[in-house]
């Protein structure tokens, strides 16, 4: 016999806790996995969406380009319309996401008469330069996100939204 014997009471309490814990977890674990499923769903690749915007009509001035796609939200399928702010910088096409990096409201090019040549967010007066860079002293903590773009048969196609890659 070693010095630290397991008493009858300890043995029973360990056994009961072990068996009880096993039974309880076999009940609860499926339900927990069921509940956390949204966090573990794999995201599908996003395809390019071709818009109605002719690339030849784009200028240096950002314009709002709307695009629609079918959104599959669990058991609910719907047609969703989103916007992008698109302009040409030389030969390059820049498409910025209108989602404010402060708290997710929608920004607008020259949305405030006081701030020409800037994106303006009406919720908390967040402001961005034309390339999406956030203006220091306003609420946003980062530049506007940016779409990957392609030209398909002369029309603008928008791909994945990525962190702004023109602001350095």
């Amino acid at each position: 016999m070693s010095n630290n014997r397991v008493s009858r009471r300890q043995f029973l309490s360990y056994t009961i806790m072990g068996v009880g814990g096993f039974m309880a977890s076999s009940l609860v674990l499926p339900m927990v996995r069921f509940a956390v499923d949204p966090a573990l769903q794999v995201e599908g690749d996003s395809d390019f969406i071709v818009t109605d915007q002719l690339v030849s009509e784009l200028t240096e001035e950002p314009i709002r380009v709307s695009f629609s796609y079918e959104q599959q939200d669990a058991w609910y399928t719907s047609e969703v319309t989103n916007d992008a702010w698109v302009y040409k910088a030389g030969d390059e096409i820049i498409a910025l996401s209108p989602v404010c990096k402060h708290l997710g409201c929608t920004v607008q090019w020259e949305g405030s008469a006081d701030f020409p040549n800037q994106f303006f967010c009406p919720c908390h007066n967040g402001r961005y330069e034309k390339n999406g860079n956030n203006i220091p002293g306003t609420p946003p903590l980062g530049p506007l996100d940016q779409f990957v773009v392609e030209v398909r048969d002369g029309y603008l196609a928008l791909g994945e939204v990525k962190p702004n890659f023109i602001v350095s």
Binding site: L27, P30, R33, F34, A35, L40, W75
Partner: protein, 224 residues
């Protein structure tokens, strides 16, 4: 670690007497299956409670995906069963548990009846037990509609017609259950959902509390 945490709380709130009161109670020899195996019949009440706990837990999780709406109810059930991990298991627990809880409560009632445990001084507890039986059947009836498939719809039509056959007030019971005097539809589904997840479970918890306080106060009835 846990002991230290327990001691810290106990030192301040003196919780030991509280759980001792709940945990320490006499289990007479004639109800202990370790002494007489046939005493397992005394387990049916506890098993009913156990299955009820599973029903409450699995039901809580199911409402994370379920929508009580005629357009989406069936689709949300289909989604949670086929697209969500362990959806089949969680819905299965609730589905089979619903039948099991009725089997268990029935066996428990038979045990109490044949051991004569409903006699004085335990008449009140028998009455509460009968109410619990009614609440459980109500939960079974209202839950049956929620998947909103053909079986659910027609079972509920039949059930509501049976309720409508009650003399004098039958028509009112029917309207109150269905939410409309002719249609079994959108309002029926939301009503049944509310009754199934809020009203009846609240009644169930209250009645179970009364049931348990009474059995603790009066003790388990003597041997045959």
């Amino acid at each position: 670690m846990l002991n230290k945490l327990y001691d810290w709380v106990d030192e301040r709130l003196d919780i030991t007497p509280i759980w001792r009161d709940i945990a320490d109670h006499e289990v007479p020899e004639h109800v202990n299956p370790a002494h007489h195996f046939s005493a397992f019949v005394y387990c049916f009440g506890g098993l009913t409670f156990f299955v009820t706990v599973i029903q409450i837990l699995s039901g809580m999780f199911l409402t994370m995906y379920y929508v009580p709406d005629v357009e989406n109810a069936w689709n949300s059930v289909y989604y949670l069963q086929n697209e969500v991990a362990f959806g089949e298991i969680v819905r299965g627990m609730h589905h089979w548990g619903a039948s099991l809880v009725i089997v268990m409560i029935f066996l428990h009632t038979l045990r109490v009846f044949f051991t004569g445990s409903y006699k004085k001084p335990r008449e009140l507890n028998w009455m509460v037990g009968v109410m619990l039986f009614g609440v459980i059947l109500g939960l079974g009836f209202t839950g049956y509609l929620l998947p909103w498939d053909m079986k659910a719809l027609f079972a509920t039509k039949v059930g509501i017609e049976i309720a409508a056959s009650v003399p004098v007030i039958g028509e009112y019971i029917k309207i109150l259950l269905a939410g409309d005097d002719t249609i079994l539809g959108a309002q029926t589904l939301t009503r049944f959902f509310a009754i199934h997840v809020f009203f009846l479970p609240a009644a169930l918890l209250g009645l179970m509390g009364a049931h348990f306080i009474m059995i603790r106060k009066q003790g388990i009835s003597g041997p045959l």
